[in-house]
């Protein structure tokens, strides 16, 4: 396997991890906003 292919495969793995982290971070952020809103409403 050529070096360029190995680097690209590594990149796809990094992208997959990044996607999972971004989804979880985005959901966490939305949860935090909702909690703040609830506290403000109270």
């Amino acid at each position: 396997m050529q070096i360029g292919t190995i680097i690209m495969l590594g990149f796809i793995i990094v992208l997959a991890i990044a996607a999972c982290v971004l989804v979880s971070e985005s959901v966490k952020l939305a949860g935090k906003k909702d909690k703040e809103k609830e506290e403000c409403d109270e």
Binding site: M1, Q2, G4, T5, I7, M8, L9, F11, I12, L15, A16, A18, A19, L22, V23, E25, S26, V27, L29, A30, G31, K33, K37
Partner: protein
């Protein structure tokens, strides 16, 4: 009193619904085929540069304009230009984008057939993909019957509204499809001799291609087309996000998911093409030609085939829903038509134009070219121009983006979009458009 707008129920649902809209047939065949054509890793590199520097900023802007104005393309263009011009520009751009559904639904029907065929006795007989595809198209009863079923479900989803229809389906279908493509690739790589040559063909960068402006134009156009920036789909989806919805991180997530999906499909399809002797430049039917051969050879192929084609059906279907939702919201808001009326009008149009295209291959090709290149490129350029210069980046950033996010965008964002992103996008759109003639 104005009717309450249908909004997404959760942040995860918003991400998945937008990913479902973005991830579709463009990822399943267009990305891998362009990637193979333009030097593998070199195309991926150009795609990523274009995505980060051009597409992500424009996607953030378009969704934020939609969220702020809570309106479809006609209303937004009417606010930006004169009312008559807004109706004409927004109506035409939205219709042209919707016209993708004329050929899209027959492809969804083919995916359903392949899910059935690859998981049952037809697959076990080892019929080549091209013969299966041809036999499906020649079976008029099955071809039209499945098309009608898909159309009926699509219209029903349109009547139910975006949150109940798309959000629930996308939450399960998109992750399922991506996981199954990973499993298929692992099984394929561990059982197929010659897969390394295929991987080198697909991924090893040919950097000499980066000097070619046509490669950059193709990569940026694909990134815009894949995410759906410009012709108003993102704007409409933005109009269904709650007013306090977070945008920058959400759009970065969606663009990452879309790119990952495209790369994963390519990992399965392109190396398999090389290993099994299928031409990777076969175009829109590539997945139908090569995947049956893959499933014939890997362990538990029939079960994986069934699940994977179902996942692809859902991904393609949610993109069709995205195209439909753009016209439903745009025409519903713009002409003050009820949702049922717009669903009925576009349902009849889809039925008539879809059936005539299915009966005539040249007509089908006409709709593919019209919606894929000829109208997408100018409408994307018009959208970028309007959102950036007429409606304004600063106003959108200050009123719709920054108050609702921890990742605040500075004034650099305004300058970047207006001085770099939109001019570069319009240049490459014009370059590609002129190249069509």
């Amino acid at each position: 009193m104005e009717a309450k707008r249908d909004t997404f129920k959760s942040q995860f649902g918003t991400i998945m619904a937008l990913s479902g809209m973005a991830i579709g047939l463009g990822n399943c065949w267009r990305f891998p085929y362009l990637c193979a054509k333009w030097g593998g890793g070199a195309f991926v590199l150009a795609y990523l540069v274009g995505l980060i520097l051009i597409v992500v900023p424009l996607a953030i802007l378009e969704v934020s304009v939609g969220k702020h104005m809570q309106a479809g393309l006609i209303d937004v263009y009417s606010a930006a230009y004169k009312k008559k011009a807004g109706k004409l520009l927004g109506g035409v751009a939205s219709f042209c984008n919707w016209s993708q559904n004329i050929y899209y639904l027959s492809t969804v029907a083919a995916l359903i057939f392949f899910a059935y065929a690859c998981s049952t006795s037809i697959w076990k007989r080892g019929v080549p993909g091209e013969k299966m595809y041809a036999s499906f198209q020649s079976n008029t009863f099955l071809y039209i019957g499945l098309f009608l079923v898909v159309l009926a479900v699509l219209l029903y989803t349109g009547l139910r509204g975006i949150a109940k229809g798309v959000e629930i389906l996308s939450k399960y279908a998109i992750p399922l499809m991506m996981v199954l493509f990973v499993i298929t690739f692992i099984l394929l790589a561990s059982t197929t001799p010659g897969i390394v040559e295929g991987l080198n063909y697909y991924l090893n960068p040919d950097f000499s291609q980066l000097k070619n402006p046509a490669l950059w134009a193709a990569a940026i156009a694909q990134a815009l087309f894949s995410i759906g920036v410009g012709p108003g789909i993102l704007l409409v989806y933005g109009s269904h996000i709650k007013k306090n919805g977070e945008i920058p991180l959400t759009m970065l997530t969606i663009c990452t998911m879309d790119t990952l999906a495209a790369l994963l499909v390519g990992l399965t399809v392109i190396p398999a093409c090389i290993a099994y002797g299928v031409d990777p430049q076969s175009g829109s039917t590539l997945v139908f030609l090569v995947l049956p051969q893959v499933f014939e050879r890997i362990p538990c192929g029939n079960i994986i085939a069934l699940l994977l084609f179902i996942g692809m059906v859902c991904a393609a279907f949610t993109s069709a829903v995205g195209n439909q939702e753009a016209v439903l919201t745009t025409y519903g808001d713009g002409f003050k038509w009820g949702r049922k009326k717009v669903v009925f009008i576009f349902g009849i149009l889809n039925l008539v134009l879809g059936l005539t295209a299915m009966m005539n291959g040249k007509l089908m090709e006409f709709w593919q070219i019209l919606s894929g290149d000829f109208t997408f490129l100018p409408s994307a350029a018009l959208g970028g121009f309007t959102f950036a210069y007429i409606i304004g980046v600063r106003r959108t950033r200050e009123e719709s983006i920054n108050p609702f996010t921890d990742y605040k965008l500075g004034r650099w964002f305004d300058r970047w979009v207006q001085i770099v992103a939109v001019p570069v996008m319009i240049f490459f759109m014009a370059y590609t458009f002129i190249g069509l003639f």
